[in-house]
């Protein structure tokens, strides 16, 4: 029997409208943060790039411990690969599904703060962070003087060298100054008759940002220079220090001691690179890649332009911060304090859970006292120069537009290395491009 038109009840049109609406609403609804019933625990989400392998396992330990010992607040970790991390922050935040706790690369902090994603650390936590961590770690976790989270892993840069290759070239020890660095690089370089590189004296590599830009900024800091001005609004790469670094790299490439076309990560592990500037995390990879040949690897501070110059290098890092969209910021900060400031006994010396976690995966935190305890007797001696560098490292600039400035610097460094630009042109172009783009970000 047909329903007479105009009577009450849902018509086909109502149904056709209601169905997609219901699907949309159910699909786009926010995540469940616990059941919401009184007495049920709060569930915090933590989004990081500890997605696989030992990093994932290392984070699971303390999180499981927290969940086992805390009834009111539970933590659920979510992880994506590092290359997808920033994108995931964006997409989830725009969809109203941002995690309560974020684990960003500190380079992005300015961008995240400008977008209103990161919540400033409450005064008690900020004070604890300023007191407990080194200068570079605190600066990395801060934007405009405001602390936004607990620094986690801190990567300082130092000079890796292959003892065997240096010995074969008649060099007794690692270089301490730039003239020694150049001399060692030229002496250790070897090529075959077709021009293929057999041994690079000094590895300048275009593999990624951390090799291309990281090593240049480490040398720049060692020369007393910096990439951006104090207020972060313009570049000062064309300072005498910047010119000296670009000129040094240009000479190394032009005279054949560096071959930017070779992937330095693979080549150093294969004994085809005598020296390279890189971050501390690499020691763990080299150990597993090189096996017993890892014994040939030594680490020394980044050489300075002249004997007697003050040491400096680059520090990069990550931090754990709380999302402005989190419904339970107090619980999130409470968990972060427990994870980053609560002490446990690790390798005999008391240290924070985060320090134990990071050292277990061959990394460091910005807590110098923890690192001294954890990297004492019996630890890999190659990690100590990175630990010592915590005292004098310069943080990577992290203002709004920092990622874009870094990419532009990388392009111009590559253009310099490949002969597209002279030293002067590269400095001038970097300045023009970075100033133009960074000014748009503020």
């Amino acid at each position: 029997m047909r329903r007479p038109s105009g009577t009450g009840g849902p018509s086909r049109r109502h149904f056709a409208l209601a169905l997609p609406s219901a699907l949309l609403v159910s699909g786009c609804a926010g995540p469940r943060r616990g059941s919401g019933r009184p007495g049920d625990p709060i569930v915090l989400t933590l989004l990081s790039h500890y997605a696989s392998g030992e990093l994932k396992e290392a984070l699971r330990g303390p999180v499981d411990e927290w969940n086992a010992t805390h009834d009111r607040v539970k933590v659920r970790t979510k992880a994506v690969e590092f290359t997808d991390l920033l994108t995931t922050f964006m997409v989830r935040q725009a969809a109203g599904q941002g995690a309560d706790i974020l684990h960003p690369y500190c380079l992005w902090n300015g961008q995240l703060v400008r977008a209103g994603v990161l919540r400033p650390a409450p005064p008690g936590h900020a004070e604890e962070i300023r007191r407990g961590y080194g200068r570079a770690a605190v600066a990395s976790a801060s934007v405009g003087g405001t602390v936004y989270g607990y620094p986690t892993e801190v990567q300082t840069y130092a000079l890796y060298y292959n003892r065997r290759l240096l010995r074969e070239a008649g060099v007794a020890g690692p270089p301490r100054t730039w003239p020694e660095l150049e001399d060692t690089a030229y002496r250790t370089t070897r090529r075959d008759r077709y021009g293929n590189t057999l041994v690079q004296g000094f590895g300048l590599s275009t593999a990624d940002d951390s090799t291309t830009v990281g090593q240049t900024l480490a040398l720049l800091n060692a020369a007393g220079g910096s990439f951006v001005s104090g207020d972060g609004r313009r570049t000062v790469i064309d300072s005498p220090a910047g010119r000296a670094v670009f000129a040094l790299e240009h000479r190394l490439v032009a005279r054949g001691a560096s071959d930017p076309g070779v992937n330095v990560y693979q080549a150093f592990a294969s004994g085809q690179v005598a020296m390279v500037v890189s971050a501390g995390w690499w020691t763990g990879s080299l150990k597993s890649l090189m096996g017993k040949d890892y014994g040939d690897v030594g680490v020394a501070p980044v050489p300075v332009p002249a004997a007697g110059d003050e040491r400096a290098t680059l520090a990069t890092g990550f931090m754990l911060g709380v999302n402005t969209a989190s419904e339970h910021p107090d619980a999130a900060w409470e968990f972060l304090r427990w994870l980053n400031a609560g002490r446990v006994r690790g390798r005999g010396a008391p240290a924070t859970r985060m320090s134990v976690l990071q050292v277990s995966v061959g990394s460091l935190t910005g807590r110098a006292d923890d690192m001294r305890g954890l990297l004492g007797e019996g630890s890999d001696p190659n990690l100590r120069p990175f630990r010592d560098a915590l005292a004098y490292a310069v943080p990577e600039p992290n203002g709004p537009g920092a990622q874009q400035a870094k990419s532009l610097l990388r392009k111009n460094i590559e253009a310099l290395w490949t002969g597209q630009q002279s030293v002067d042109e590269a400095l001038r172009t970097t300045r023009r491009q970075v100033d133009q783009e960074v000014s748009r970000s503020w």
Partner: protein
Amino acid sequence: MVNTLTPEAAERAAHRPRSLAPAAGRHGRARRRQAVVAYLFLAPTLLFFAVFLVLPLGFALLLSMSRWTGFRLGDIDPVGLDNFTGLFADGSTFLAPILTNTLLFALGTVALALAGSVLVATCIDRLRFQGLWRTLYFLPIVTTVVAVGNVWKYMYEPGGLVNGVLNALGLGSTAFLQDPDTALPSVVVVQAWATVGSAILVLTAGLKSVPQAYYEAAALDGAGPVTVFRRITLPLLRPSLLFVCITQFLSGLQSFALINVMTKGGPGDATDVAALEMYRQAFSYGDWGTASAAAFVLFLVVLAVTLAQLWFFRRKGEDA
């Protein structure tokens, strides 16, 4: 919409006296009901286009005239045409080298793929086991771009296969992807190789449709193979060539994955292209306004290039 009235019935309906108005009303209702049914059938498709085409297009247009960091929808800040002017401001790399590279990349790909596919398709047309040859040349299309890019990347390495061959011939090594002079042409070769299969498929189908009578007549007139190719094959292949030309140009102008895998736009910005820059602006730098403005500029370039090709082929007598 489906009209179920025959012309005679419609004419009768038109000349019906006013006293028959209730019947006409019934017909009108029936017609409206038919329209509703027709729209209901179309609804899924229209909804699909609205959600995945019209909505994103409108949103992109809005973003191209706004500042947005990609995190909160409430933070979209209108800035007029600032993003467009920023793309062409002093210090911006968008016009040169990015847009220039994009056009060179597309042009190189089309030229290589077109020449290669015409040559190979003509050869295949004269061979036995044509299906086998077509399949072989089509294989790169079904292989993922990431695999293709990585394999070629290793082949181009200073110690790789290509340099091995050069060394065996007594020539020195070349860092193909690290030298700014060779990086873009090297990636163009890979893109052309990867897309030549689909062009061959289209062109072999085009060759099959050329009537044999023309070739027989040419043979009777004593025309050589070059003359036959220039005067018969090429002109009659023009519809297929137009299709290949336009589709190759479109994919060349929008290329992203291969360059991202092989060079990430380097060395320097020697292989930086528009799609890669858009991705970086949006997802790395959080500048969705600039990314959207760049997308619209690229859209205009694609439109202009496509219209230019249509005009060129029409001038040559091809009704596209």
